[in-house]
């Protein structure tokens, strides 16, 4: 897929909603089309975090492993989700593993390329930061809900 054919994909993606076509064009310069088969690792904990992914189609599990314990899936992501923000913060390393559960098509955006463009144009940087902050906030809230153990029997107001 050529760069010019990636531009409409970025433009239409919810994550970039409202971003000017000029900026989308600029970001397309950091984008590449990518696919993973079921079982492929997108990245592993500790590896350099040099990109993020706009998932177009498929399913990816975010996993955490600890010695002597079974690997836990913390979250799955699917069509139109955005995966990865470790490229934004030093030391630019993945905190978790990500595994494709099925054939997954994505657009990968190169972190170093993006950081360069954001450093050159703080308005673009701010736009991207706002979007990633929203994703991080949603993720934090979802984790809080998971911690609440919604379906347990804490104070027995409900048996469901």
């Amino acid at each position: 897929m050529t760069l010019s054919s990636l531009a409409p994909i970025l433009q239409e993606h919810e994550f970039f909603a409202g971003l000017s076509p000029e900026y989308v064009q600029l970001l397309t310069e950091c984008a590449s089309n990518i696919r993973f088969d079921a079982g492929d690792m997108l990245f592993r904990q500790g590896e350099p975090a040099d990109r993020f992914y706009l998932l177009r189609q498929g399913k990816v599990a975010i996993e955490i492993s600890a010695p002597g314990r079974p690997t836990l899936t913390i979250k799955t992501l699917g069509d139109n989700d955005v995966l990865g923000w470790s490229w934004l913060f030093p030391p630019y390393q993945w905190q978790f593993d990500a595994r494709a559960l099925e054939l997954t098509r994505a657009v990968a955006l190169d972190g170093r390329c993006l950081r360069g463009k954001c450093d050159n144009d703080p308005v673009l940087g701010y736009e991207l930061m706002k979007r990633f902050s929203q994703i991080m906030l949603d993720s934090l809230n979802a984790t809080r809900l998971q911690l609440l153990d919604l379906y347990g029997l804490p104070d027995r107001r409900s048996a469901w």
């Binding site: 799955t76 809900l145 919604l150 379906y151 469901w160």
Partner: protein, 293 residues
């Protein structure tokens, strides 16, 4: 000009199916089959000793009496179109539910009901329908799902979102598979926690709402699960643009008489046993958000 989206939804009070005989007197039912749904939930299939089928609307409940142990409120989980058997799906939490879990085919129990106001199936006609269930909250929704699928042409898109704690806590697996195999229902299941062999979704059920295919303005949402899960689900639906008057929740409180006498089930000005257990969200919003109620 009438905006189709702003047409007010008429009040939800529907004729309530009243218990056919003396409401405090249990009728005898015999257990025909038991089915273990998960390690802590089971379904009883029952038939009346007097041969009179029990007619109910989806969302209504019965009082189940385990002789010598006591009574508890359990929603009807069967298909309303199948009057040959009465179904109840129960999670084991204490004295009565433990006693019910020990019943075997041929055993007899007492049933009072059906009680309460169920889901507004008629008002949902012509709309997309989104069911959101948390854990065993799928049980009271099951009759409504069966009703919609029995009258599929009367409804728009049908979406079922189910969240449970782990893959082992998923109830009605056979139904989920059957519904999934239909091309006219979207079934999305997610669990809070899973080991890596699980190929399904992991994440809270509210996360499914964003990607569920329904028309936000022409949708009726029916939610059943722990109150905290329902609160977050309502927030997510409102965020997506579903109007508050198109969201229904089912509430749970301790019940004794189930006919509006004893006051045990009071929620603000409402008695859950007769005004509920299903409420339109905007009718009980205030009480829903009060911690101490």
């Amino acid at each position: 000009m009438v905006n189709e989206f702003s047409t007010p939804v008429v009040p939800t009070i529907e004729p309530v199916m009243q218990p056919s005989i003396e409401p405090m007197l249990p009728r005898l039912y015999q257990v025909q089959r038991t089915h273990k749904e998960t390690h802590e939930t089971f379904t009883l299939e029952l038939t009346p000793e007097d041969g009179q089928p029990l007619v109910f609307t989806p969302g209504q409940f019965n009082m189940l009496y385990a002789f010598g142990m006591g009574e508890c409120a359990i929603s009807i989980s069967g298909d309303p179109a199948d009057s040959s058997k009465l179904m109840h799906t129960t999670r084991i939490v204490g004295t009565v539910t433990t006693a019910l879990s020990k019943l075997r085919p041929g055993d007899v129990l007492g049933i009072r009901g059906p009680f309460g106001r169920g889901w507004s199936m008629d008002l949902a006609e012509g709309n997309d329908v989104v069911f959101v269930a948390g854990g065993i909250g799928l049980a009271p929704l099951r009759p409504a799902i069966c009703h919609v699928l029995n009258h599929r042409e009367k409804y728009g898109k049908v979406v079922l979102l189910l969240g449970t704690r782990t893959p082992q806590d998923i109830v009605f697996r056979r139904d989920l598979q059957k519904w999934r195999s239909r091309l006219d229902v979207e079934v999305l299941v997610t669990v809070d926690r899973a080991e890596s062999g699980w190929q399904g979704n992991v994440g809270v059920v509210t996360g499914l709402i964003r990607r569920a295919p329904f028309d936000r303005l022409n949708t009726i949402a029916m939610i059943c699960g722990p109150e905290i899960m329902m609160q977050f689900t309502v927030m997510e639906l409102l965020k997506r643009g579903v109007p508050a008057e198109k969201i229904y929740v089912t509430m749970e409180r301790n019940m004794k008489c189930a006919i509006g006498f004893c006051g045990h089930c009071q929620l603000g000005p409402n008695f859950l046993c007769k005004d509920g257990p299903v409420f339109r969200y905007d009718e009980i919003k205030f009480w829903f958000e009060q911690r101490e109620f």
